[in-house]
Amino acid sequence: MMVKNRKLNDDEFFKERKAILATWPTGSEVDLEEALTFHNSLPAKKNFALRLVEAREKGETLIRCESGIPTVEEFSNYLRFLQDEGHADLLGAHVDSMTRNQRYAETERGLEESLKTGRWVLNGFPMVAHGVRGTRKLIDAVDLPLMIRNPCVDQRLVAEIGFASGFTGASGCPILAFSQYSRNIPHEVVISYYQYVYRLMGYYGERDVPMVASIIGGFAILCPLSVLIAGAIIDSLIAAEQGVKHINLVNNAQGNLVQDAAGIIVLRKTVKRYLEAQGYKDIEVTMNLSNWSGQFPADTFDACAIISVGVTAAVAGKSELCTVKTIEEAKSIPTREASANSLRLGKTLIKQLKSQNFQLEDKLLEAEAAMLEKETELIVDKILELGDGDAVVGEIKATQTGVFDVPFSTSQYVQSRVKGVRDLQGAVRYIDHGNLPFTSEIIDFHKEKIAEREKAIGKKLDYQTIVKDISSISRGEL
């Protein structure tokens, strides 16, 4: 299998489509023409992509949180509750992890048990089991746009069903899926699955139904930001090639406000630049600052503090969207009350900070952003060089050789030599940059930052430190 960054033609697309829809009975409920008619009957304010662009024009920071529970009826009420009591700006459906891995039969059993016992047996909304008929009820239940939240290796069928139901965006991208949601699936396979999903989004877009792709480029738990931004650039190029016109980039906060805000700024800037350089000129780019996504504190009010820090980063970096965790993150799938409470905290804090035009110290922010941008460019330019300008070819080679690399990958194909650790201000630095194509200036910068902390605590940073830093936030520290 040889994958390139090349748009699927209609033949390829429709052939693959037929096969995918046939993988489960509810696939037959998808009717593209009917879906387009349905989307066109919806008001613009129910389109996720358009709402984000509006936020950018108005200088807003919108808010949402993750949610997904098994049954249609209860989840409809749940979403309405987030809208009415949480004052959410945007909504979504987290798909359960059985569905994410095509275990549709197990999912149906889980759904049955959930319906029978009234307990949530699945950890998300089983979109394939519910099909278009069930899933569309979510769209009808609320006045806000919904995005499919289903990062995983193969979300082709879920995307078909979700978009046909009225969802107007999807999260997940090749690098995230490959490095965090698979163990032994080849890189090119994951990419090809995403090319299909992006082509499907492009197809809707070409028919006046804008679809937004949420792209993250990796997963930020003590992962230095430049590899994530590089990943997001590559995945954006892949999405754009398939015709995606709306990209919502995720920066995953790690807790240091300056670094997190700089991440938003550099991510936005560099993605736009590389998209244009590769000839994709009419892409709407917006940002999403996502709350710290590692282990959360168990206590509700400690969790409130961590949510606040994330919101502050979102406003400081002028993100169009802030995704907050809930006060029950450490516990389990949040109740609707917990979700609404978390949204209200976030929304009120956004109002407080936005209305005073909150700003971090400029010089610090600029310095951090400048270094980040340099690092990112070195990685991306090398990837593109390896692929002779082809982002897909380059990315696959880069991952094999560690020119692109992330810590704690679940994939056996990722080296995971790269490791991050916190510096004295809690910013994440490379304690090991593996085979990333860095200059000595950059390597020395990170060394210095690490040496500063070593000096302050009087001992060498090592694996033990990494372990400590991974869970520090759950203890309220940074």
């Binding site: 992890s97 059985m98 994410r100 891995n101 275990r103 197990e106 059993r109 889980g110 307990r119 949530w120 047996v121 699945l122 950890n123 965090q180 949601y181 698979s182 163990r183 738990i221 590692g294 282990q295 168990a298 450490a330 389990s332 799938i333 704690f408 679940t410 056996q412 694996y463 372990v467 991974i470 869970s471």
Partner: protein, 146 residues
């Protein structure tokens, strides 16, 4: 002396089913290695068959099953039976993570997983030292038994 009881013990570790939450088990593996155990790490998304295969191959003394996503009730039943079938009647089965979804009482949940053949079951806020102490105790007991 006591510390040495496990110096040759081998443990197979992994995250079961479709679950990708590897951070916890990685940290646990690190602590177990430091404590002197031999670790055969399978990583994320490990099937019951893969656990058993690895245990047979490495003559493991215990299987450490992690499950965070809340699907343990779907993913772990049957593992003990398959072990017995494969001739691993006495192998220790440990389970940990965030096993269920919602407000399930811990005692209930612990009992349910012990009933289907797990020797030890842990909640997410468990101290690693406790796990190691339990394991050392179980190893000593196993030692006597075998």
């Amino acid at each position: 002396m006591n510390e040495k009881v496990h110096s040759l013990k081998t443990l197979v570790t992994g995250v079961i089913g479709e679950d990708v939450h590897v951070i916890g088990i990685r940290i646990l593996e690190y602590a177990l290695r430091e404590a002197g155990f031999k670790i055969v790490s399978l990583g994320a998304q490990v099937s019951q068959e893969e656990f058993i295969e690895a245990a047979l191959e490495t003559k493991a003394d215990a299987i450490f099953v992690s499950s965070l996503g809340g699907h343990a009730r779907i993913s772990v039943p049957g593992l003990r039976e398959k072990c017995v079938e494969a001739g691993l009647k006495d192998i220790l089965l440990y389970l940990g993570g965030q096993l269920t979804i919602g407000d399930v009482k811990w005692e209930e949940s612990e009992k349910a997983f012990k009933d289907i053949g797990f020797d030890r079951v842990y909640p997410p806020d468990i101290e690693l030292a406790t796990v190691i102490r339990d394991l050392e105790a179980d190893c000593r007991r196993e030692g006597v038994r075998s």
